[in-house]
Amino acid sequence: MLDLLKGPVAAVQEFFILTGQAIRNIFRTPHYGDDIALQMDTIGVGSLGIVVMTGFFSGAVMALQFSRTLAQYGQLGILGKAVAIVLVRELGPDLTALMVAGRNSSGIASELGSMKVTEQIDAMRALGTDPIQKLVTPRLLATMLMLPVLTIIADFVGVFGGWVVAYASLGQPSRQYWTSAWRGLEWNDVAQGLIKPFVFAFVVSLIGCYYGLRTTGGTQGVGRATTQAMVTASVLIFVLTYFIAQIFVTQT
């Protein structure tokens, strides 16, 4: 029984060591500014399209579904509020993180995994660079900077998607929708919505790096690392979503 637990416990320990090293390296020289900029482009600008698409349609479908229930109680006026709260608190950060995890956790894992199996990571160490400083820290920093930005974009585009449905297919006045959405949001909602992407940034970037750097077994191993990174990152996002919600819900 204890032997069964040994593997997972060791993996969690290794992950936290990697996290510690990645954070420590933020404050140590040398800094690889070019790599951070490149990763911000790949993770941030590269994910913009899918984040906008998911944000828009999740907002639109929510408006559509909520409108049926709310109309039963004659409360269609608070449609904007309902869409905005759900998006800003939960779906905006979660869907964005999931999309970025699907795109970048797996991307990072396969990139670092290929480098590992072709001895490029060893070569990097042999030629005087710390792979964590050069590869992991820039990815962590880039994700920490870009994921909140992407989340804000997704939130906004989502509320906009809700408005398109409210205005075009339900005939609700624009002013009513936007006022309800704007007034409905409280600081607590915004705080929760913006803390989450910071937490998820660790999961998205470091899970990818962790599985990439421990890849063994040639190209097959790279495939395995890619899948594991994406699955683990996605599941962890859901688990963390629950715990963060638990903290915020009990607080208010």
């Binding site: 072709t118 001895e119 060893d122 070569a123 030629l127 005087g128 710390d130």
Partner: protein, 273 residues
């Protein structure tokens, strides 16, 4: 010790294992300045792990590795960088960074190794020089994927020797190459050894590679290899080592190697052409 010179590389009862499986066990040897060492062995006999231990890329479970008199086993990762900057390493599959051009690849050790202190304006000149040395002067802007296997190997040699390291390690330099390209690569290794007088460790499974290293030298006037006549290179000697399942089963010169009756050892020598 009666030896007046300090060994450049010393292994003391080194053992390395991965997930409980021994990769090398109880390996001890010393390499002195200007010496060439040829490490023969079958696949999985621990040759690569031995080279990686010499670079501090893998930490031994027990034993000590001394490079230039410093104990690698007690140095932290960042402390190893200074020692590594004096070692050139050719990895088995070249290990060029495929997102960088050949020029950036060869410049990598010059730019990133703090103890090298290469001024920025000199980097390009030294890269061009190193690439000319391996006869790849025209490929600066190309990416590794655009080169053939032999050219990649040559670019990787340029990257290994661009800093003029006093110790160079070559991991299977001829693996997966045709006989003609293999000969070119070996000629480059011998050229690198004889022009800069570096201590050289070559891991290989081909006896003829070792034979070239032991018996040929680079003639810089004619630009090609020539047989080293007795007495012309007293300063350089070649020692053969044979690895079998992680153990060092033979260490000695070519004459003793060829005289060995051990079936495993003589299997390598029989390939001698």
């Amino acid at each position: 010790m009666p030896e007046e010179r300090q060994p450049i590389l010393r292994f003391e009862h080194v053992a390395v294992s991965f997930d409980g499986v021994a990769a090398i066990s109880d390996v001890s040897f010393e390499a002195f300045e200007g010496e060439s060492r040829v490490i023969l062995g079958a696949m999985g006999s621990g040759k690569t792990v031995l080279l990686k231990a010499a670079l501090g890329l893998v930490k031994p479970d027990s034993g000590k590795v001394y490079v230039f008199g410093r104990d690698l086993t007690v140095l932290p990762e960042r402390g190893l960088f200074e020692v590594r900057s004096k070692i050139g390493m050719l990895f088995q599959e070249s290990a060029l960074f495929d997102s960088l051009t050949i020029e950036e690849n060869v410049a990598y050790p010059l730019v990133n190794q703090e103890s090298i202190h290469c001024p920025k304006q000199e980097v390009h000149t030294r890269v061009v020089e190193a690439l000319k040395f391996v006869e790849l002067g025209e490929t600066l802007e190309k990416f590794p994927a655009e080169l053939s296997g032999g050219m990649r190997r040559r670019a990787a040699i340029a990257r290994a020797v661009v800093t003029n390291p006093p110790l160079t390690l070559y991991d299977s330099p001829t693996a997966g190459l045709d006989p003609i390209t293999s000969h070119t690569i070996m000629a480059l290794l011998i050229k690198a050894r004889d022009v800069t007088h570096t201590t050289t460790l070559v891991v290989t499974h081909r006896y003829q590679d070792g034979n070239l290293i032991a018996n040929f030298r680079y003639n810089s006037e004619q630009g090609q290899l020539e047989p080293a006549r007795n007495g012309t290179r007293r300063d350089v000697r070649t020692t053969f080592m044979v690895m079998q399942e992680g153990r060092l089963v033979f260490e000695g010169d070519q004459t003793r190697l060829e005289a060995s009756t051990d079936p495993y050892i003589s299997k390598f020598v029989k390939h001698h052409t």
